[in-house]
């Protein structure tokens, strides 16, 4: 290498060194300013505040017990659990709804296709925050109070206090069912693996789907009956001004969930539609010509190809949904952002609070994208 600016390698080294130096200098400048400012405002930095008593109540503590006397750390954990709860339920529901709407847009039924198209156009062009506010006021201002609650199904109540519905009374049989379900799922995966091996060896395809379904469904059913087949339901009852018993979805959770699902479903619908349209109709015809019936042609020929188109943008939508769940702070659902915000206002530890929020979301984002990359690599074309 010549030490001359005409040598591209030398030039590139100089540029990169300059980039590192200026990035570091900029960072050092910000850090020194920040330290000076913190000193001036007498704010002690550090995460020691996490152990202190939070002193504020949280409306949703479904997953983790919490009271105002608990520490900030525990409050933030509750917030994280709430974020994950609404995101996971939202991702599942948005995928189902989005797929249905995407397929509806492709339907031969003119009315259905137009309706689905109108849904997508309208939902995509209105900010999510506006939609969240709409759902929230719809529930809190336009639904009747507890006494006049709507009862769309027996035992289900809609009121401005949220959505109340019956759930089974706790019983040991349910724990056994869960165990049986996990064991059955493991057996089903093993069975699918064996089936693939057998098919590769003999060319015959064993009835894998049927066996796997039986593995997943039969053991929990047996456990249910073995456990004494409990049928007791906890039904919401109006006592005084509010409902007790059953399960309650707060207006905040219901509005946030509905908003996220309906908004994201519109985007997922477009992805599914594009994925199916990307498969030439000849693939169907070729599968029929090989003697496959429609469900098999769909499962073995069309879907694997469509998924390859669908999965990468779908990952983005899952990430978007998770990040958008941070809008919860606007309608008062206690997610991680909302609780970190409260903690920042109470303690003045804004840098730590924002660092926690960012670390949480970066971790979630990177794990979802790592999982989806793994899945994508699994279904990608082999051997290029």
């Amino acid at each position: 290498m010549k030490l001359s600016f005409n040598d591209p390698r030398f030039r590139s080294l100089v540029y990169q060194a300059a980039a590192i130096v200026s990035a570091l200098a900029f960072g050092a400048y910000l850090v020194s300013n920040t330290l000076a400012n913190l000193e001036e405002r007498r704010i002690a930095s550090g995460f020691a505040f996490l152990a202190r008593e939070a002193g504020f109540a949280i409306g949703e503590t479904t997953l983790i017990a919490y009271s105002a006397a608990d520490s900030y750390l525990r409050a933030l954990t509750v917030g994280l659990a709430n974020t994950l709860r609404v995101s996971l339920i939202g991702i599942f529901a948005a995928t189902v709804l989005g797929t249905l709407i995407g397929l509806a847009r492709l339907s031969h039924n003119w009315l259905l296709a137009r309706l689905a198209a109108a849904y997508v156009e309208f939902i995509r062009n209105v900010p999510l925050l506006v939609q969240l506010f709409l759902w929230y006021v719809l529930i809190t201002e336009n639904l009747p109070g507890s006494r006049g609650a709507l009862e769309p199904l027996p035992g289900w109540y809609l009121s401005n206090r949220g959505i109340h519905f019956p759930v089974p009374e706790p019983h040991p049989a349910y724990a056994w069912m869960l165990g049986a379900f996990v064991a059955g799922t493991v057996a089903a995966i093993g069975c699918a693996w064996c089936g693939r091996r057998r098919q590769a060896r003999t060319g015959r395809r064993p009835p894998v789907l049927e066996i796997a379904l039986a593995c997943v469904l039969v053991p929990p059913a047996l456990a249910y009956f073995a456990g004494g087949a409990p049928t007791a339901l906890s039904v919401p009852q109006l006592t005084g001004f509010n409902f007790t018993g059953g399960m309650t979805l707060t207006p905040e959770f219901a509005a946030l969930g509905a908003g996220l699902v309906i908004y994201t479903a519109a985007f997922i619908a477009e992805i599914v539609r594009a994925g199916v349209l990307a498969i030439p109709y000849g693939q169907f015809e070729a599968a029929f010509a090989l003697g496959l019936r429609r469900p098999l042609a769909m499962r073995l020929v069309v879907l694997p190809q469509a998924l390859r188109v669908i999965v990468p943008p779908l990952t983005n939508q899952y990430l978007n949904l998770t990040k958008n769940s941070s809008l919860a702070v606007a309608i008062g659902y206690p997610d991680i952002v909302s609780i970190a915000n409260t903690a920042m206002n109470q303690t003045g530890q804004s840098i730590e609070g924002i660092a926690i929020i960012m670390a949480v979301y970066l971790t979630i984002s990177l794990s979802i994208s790592a999982f989806m990359n793994w899945y994508n690599a699994r279904i990608a074309l082999r051997g290029g």
Binding site: N33, N37, N125, V130, S326, V337, M344, Y361
Partner: protein, 367 residues
């Protein structure tokens, strides 16, 4: 299924309304059930909605009494009629509302002119500079006999439009630089750009806005302060730049390697290659997805509500706090949805048209 479809196609060519109905709404029992179910649902929903939104609606009332009387039966559009000045212009001095009104009109006109391909010329930049200068003069005032209005008092629709315009205008050059950096062969430059993009795209916009509103003041040397509006704008610019950079990277990757090689063969330097060969083609391909990003960004500016800026959504929300008008949130947010929808739908239609036109031009070139 396929055989059936081919059969119906060949036997009954779809002519006439009856044939159209049979092939599009009543082909098979499943489709018939779906059609009937949808017709039944719409039959119930549409008249009820029209009754609520138009027939029984209250359009004008000095106070909210008439609205309260009609609650549940008719919409209270009188809320919007009564509050429209505050919703559109926020806390801008009342007697000067004509200034943001004209500024809005100029801004929308600038966007519309820039949308027409006939005006994609270099002097469009001058038109924009002139337009923005006029808008700045109108909004701030302080010259030509206009009273000075500090930007703490700007609000409503003009704030939403300005945040979008300046956000995109500042983010665009930044995003081109970052996209080029991400495609660079120098590992350090590439790493810095990838780090920036992944960091910004990995966290929600709210956290960036929080960061701008509480952490940015700490970053500045003692004695330097910047106002809330500018802080939010900086966060929005960084956010938009990361997303636009990925869009532009898509355009850069779509350029065939032969173009790079040809430019190298001509002996062009990196910057000449980039500016004369690569970027003109890459940006052209990226225009439709850039418009889509602009739509998303326009919607995202509504988040400044959370850090207490008075954009369009925020003024609507604040109007609802007035005791006389609490409880009409449904009407208020439907109005907000309508305004956002109008802007976004126009942009998305434009983007679809542009995509078609550009694709056709591309095909013509290849032939």
């Amino acid at each position: 299924m396929a055989a059936e479809r081919i059969g119906t196609l060949s036997l009954q060519p779809a002519v006439g309304p009856v044939a159209w109905l049979r092939s599009n709404l009543f082909s098979g029992w499943l489709n018939t059930i779906i059609t009937l179910a949808i017709v039944y649902a719409l039959w119930h929903a549409i008249p009820a909605f029209i009754d609520w939104a138009f027939v029984n609606a209250i359009w004008q009332t000095p106070d909210s009494k008439a609205c309260r009387a009609a609650a549940g039966e008719g919409a209270c559009w009188a809320f919007v009629a009564e509050k429209h000045r505050f919703i559109l212009f926020g806390t801008y001095p009342f007697e000067h509302h004509w200034r943001p009104a004209i500024a809005c009109a100029i801004l929308v006109a600038l966007w519309a002119v820039s949308a027409l391909r006939a005006f994609w010329r270099w002097w469009l930049i001058l038109v924009w500079a002139a337009g923005l200068a006029v808008i700045g003069t109108l909004m701030w005032g302080g010259v030509l006999g206009l009273d000075f209005v500090e930007n703490e008092r700007w609000g409503g629709l003009i704030l939403t439009l300005l945040l979008t315009t300046f956000g995109i205008a500042a983010a665009f050059p930044l995003s081109v630089a970052i996209a080029l950096g991400r495609r660079s062969t120098m590992p350090v430059i590439q790493g810095l750009c990838v780090g920036f993009i992944e960091l910004i795209r990995g966290v929600p916009l709210i956290s960036l806005l929080f960061m701008a509103s509480v952490m940015l003041p700490l970053f500045l040397p003692a004695g330097v302060t910047i106002d809330k509006l500018l802080r939010a704008q900086i966060a929005l610019v960084l956010f938009a730049a990361a997303y636009l950079a990925e869009v532009i990277r898509g355009g850069l990757q779509a350029i065939p390697a032969g173009q790079y090689e040809a430019a190298d063969a001509l002996g062009l330097s990196y910057w000449r290659k980039t500016l004369l060969v690569v970027l003109p083609q890459a940006l052209r391909i990226s225009i439709p997805p850039i418009v889509n990003s602009v739509i998303a960004f326009f919607k995202d500016t509504s988040l400044v509500l959370i850090i207490g800026l008075f954009d369009l959504l925020s003024t609507i929300k604040v109007s609802l706090n007035e005791p006389a008008w609490t409880g009409f949130g449904l009407e208020a947010y439907l109005f907000a949805a309508l305004v956002y929808f109008t802007f976004c739908f126009a942009m998305s239609r434009y983007s679809q048209n542009l995509e078609r036109t550009l694709a056709r031009a591309e095909e013509g070139k290849r032939r």
